[in-house]
């Protein structure tokens, strides 16, 4: 049954390029931990976007975590200006202590390209619970801005509580920096109980996991993210190109779901 490897490779690259991936999870700046990449400016990202046939997507800035959210956000807006890429604004509770100012921050961020919000509650020492970030969550809901969170930055109970309180807020869980696989007895019920929960895919790496998640919850719940420059984008791309699901479902995971979220954000 020996196959020609060069044909397999060509087939994969062709399918990848044809799917037109939009990337939910690209980063610039200095990674938080030592890595093969020590600094990753927007120019390098653009080269890799071209190299891996990524059609666009959402960029985050490491400085928002390792230095300061607001400062990092400004670095991000400057970097992506005119690039055609969107950004992820990193939010902290005090930005919304004055609700009018908080609203302005979000409005300005969206004007500068924000199509996603992130929070890092553990790192920034706050609770991912409505009593602590009510105004922040209220504003995200108002602007239809989806919220992304690492599972290591909160607890599954807190995610459940936020999803119960805000059923119309899209909450995207990213398995980072640990494998999300070992939590599948937690995130399966979460997906079942909350239609507003989605998974970013770079760490959805469990054996036959993509097919099983699509079967149980639908392809609408999975969104491609590369985690560039830390991860090889091909890791997740082949999980989509060679998923044993319909072509329509592949397109949803590769770009359709993200396009829908981006287009849903209120610009005014």
């Amino acid at each position: 049954m020996t196959i020609k490897i060069e044909e397999r490779i060509a087939e994969y690259q062709k399918e990848r390029d044809a799917l037109g991936f939009l990337d939910l999870n690209m980063w610039i700046g200095k990674p938080l931990e030592a890595h093969f990449v020590s600094d990753y400016p927007i120019g390098e990202l653009k080269k890799h976007i071209q190299r891996y046939e990524i059609k666009g997507g959402i960029v985050s800035h490491f400085s928002c975590i390792e230095y300061d959210s607001a400062w990092g956000n400004e670095q991000l807006w400057q970097a992506i200006a005119g690039s055609g890429l969107f950004g992820a604004v990193v939010l902290t509770p005090e930005m919304f202590y004055d609700p009018i100012k908080g609203r302005e921050i979000l409005k300005n961020s969206i004007a500068k390209g924000a199509r996603l919000a992130r929070v890092f509650p553990k790192h920034e020492n706050f609770e991912f619970r409505p009593w602590c970030i009510k105004h922040l969550l209220d504003n995200l809901l108002e602007f239809h801005l989806p919220l992304m969170i690492w599972q290591t930055e909160t607890t599954w109970n807190d995610i459940d509580e936020v999803c119960c309180a805000y059923p119309d807020l899209t909450v995207i869980i990213e398995g980072n920096p640990q494998k999300i696989l070992y939590h599948n007895r937690r995130f399966y019920p979460l997906l079942e109980n909350h239609e507003n929960v989605k998974l970013e895919m770079h760490n959805v790496i469990g054996y036959l996991g993509v097919e099983d998640l699509v079967k149980h919850f639908g392809a609408e719940r999975l969104m491609f993210g590369s985690n560039l420059p830390l991860w090889d984008p091909n890791c997740t791309m082949m999980s989509v190109t060679h998923a044993r699901v319909s072509e329509e479902e592949k397109h949803l995971m590769a770009h359709g779901n993200l396009e829908k979220l981006i287009n849903h954000v209120k610009l005014q």
């Binding site: 196959i3 397999r8 490779i9 690259q13 696989l181 760490n203 991860w231 090889d232 091909n234 082949m238």
Partner: protein, 256 residues
């Protein structure tokens, strides 16, 4: 030819597997064009040696000779564990020995590992081990950092030694490469969530494609997450072919 040289079959506590039936594994191998696999049965990690051996033989037969196996050495039951390996090492499908210092909570350079290296040297068998970097959220990884293997690698240069996961995380990758440059008996495998951007290219540049082997870590990890990064790596087609199958066939002396 494509050989997945780092697979697991069997069960493991802590999470669930959506579908790990042998029929599904073989069918997925066919779909992805993977000709052969080498698995290490999960039962062997928790001292269910007989179940491990029986399951491994059964899987080899049922897969029509496509899924070979290594048997797991448990240092806490050293002699008993080696006896089981010795008794079954002539069985069809057996290729080598697996060790896992993190699961067994024992540093890789512990004296209790010496007998398995002696055994491997005597019988010209390869040893495959879990390797990783120290981890803040998984303290048992400290038992398997590449540096801890040097003692026996140096003592038994004739034993082909595969560093599973190639060191596991950044500090481990660098340590594994450093050791591999020093000791030609070391091979690195690609299994697990070691999808770091640039890793494979660095391994190939530093030690050569002949010493890198494709493995997935199925039935935990999905084979596609590893195949994609090999298929599209910035290395030559010949290097990809070596990594995807030629190396495993040669190193494990696979009768195919």
């Amino acid at each position: 030819m494509i050989i997945d040289a780092h697979m697991h079959l069997g069960l493991m506590s802590g999470y669930f597997l959506p579908d790990d039936h042998l029929e599904r594994v073989v069918e997925t191998m066919d779909f992805l064009g993977i000709d052969y696999g080498i698995q290490m049965n999960m039962a062997g990690f928790v001292n269910h040696g007989t179940l491990e051996v029986d399951s491994s033989m059964k899987h080899f037969e049922l897969s029509k000779g496509r899924i070979f196996y290594h048997l797991i050495f448990d240092p806490h039951y050293g002699e008993q564990s080696l006896e089981l390996i010795e008794k079954n090492m002539k069985s069809k499908g057996f290729l080598g020995i697996k060790i896992h210092p993190s699961i067994h909570n024992l540093y890789a350079d512990d004296p209790r590992y010496e007998i398995v290296w002696q055994f491997a040297a005597l019988h010209k068998l390869p040893i495959v081990s879990h390797t990783w970097a120290e981890s803040s959220y998984n303290p048992t990884q400290k038992y398997s950092t590449p540096e801890h293997f040097e003692k026996y690698i140096q003592q038994f240069p004739q034993v082909t030694f595969v560093m599973g996961h190639g060191g596991g995380r950044f500090a481990g990758y660098l340590a594994a490469i450093k050791l591999a440059k020093k000791y030609p008996s070391i091979i690195l495998d690609t299994s697990g969530d070691v999808s770091d951007f640039g890793l494979l290219k660095m391994q190939v540049d530093e030690i050569g494609a002949a010493r890198v082997v494709f493995g997935s870590d199925l039935n935990m990890m999905d084979e596609r997450t590893v195949l994609g990064r090999i298929y599209d790596a910035d290395i030559t087609l010949e290097e990809k072919k070596m990594i995807l199958g030629e190396n495993a066939c040669r190193l494990f002396k696979m009768p195919i």
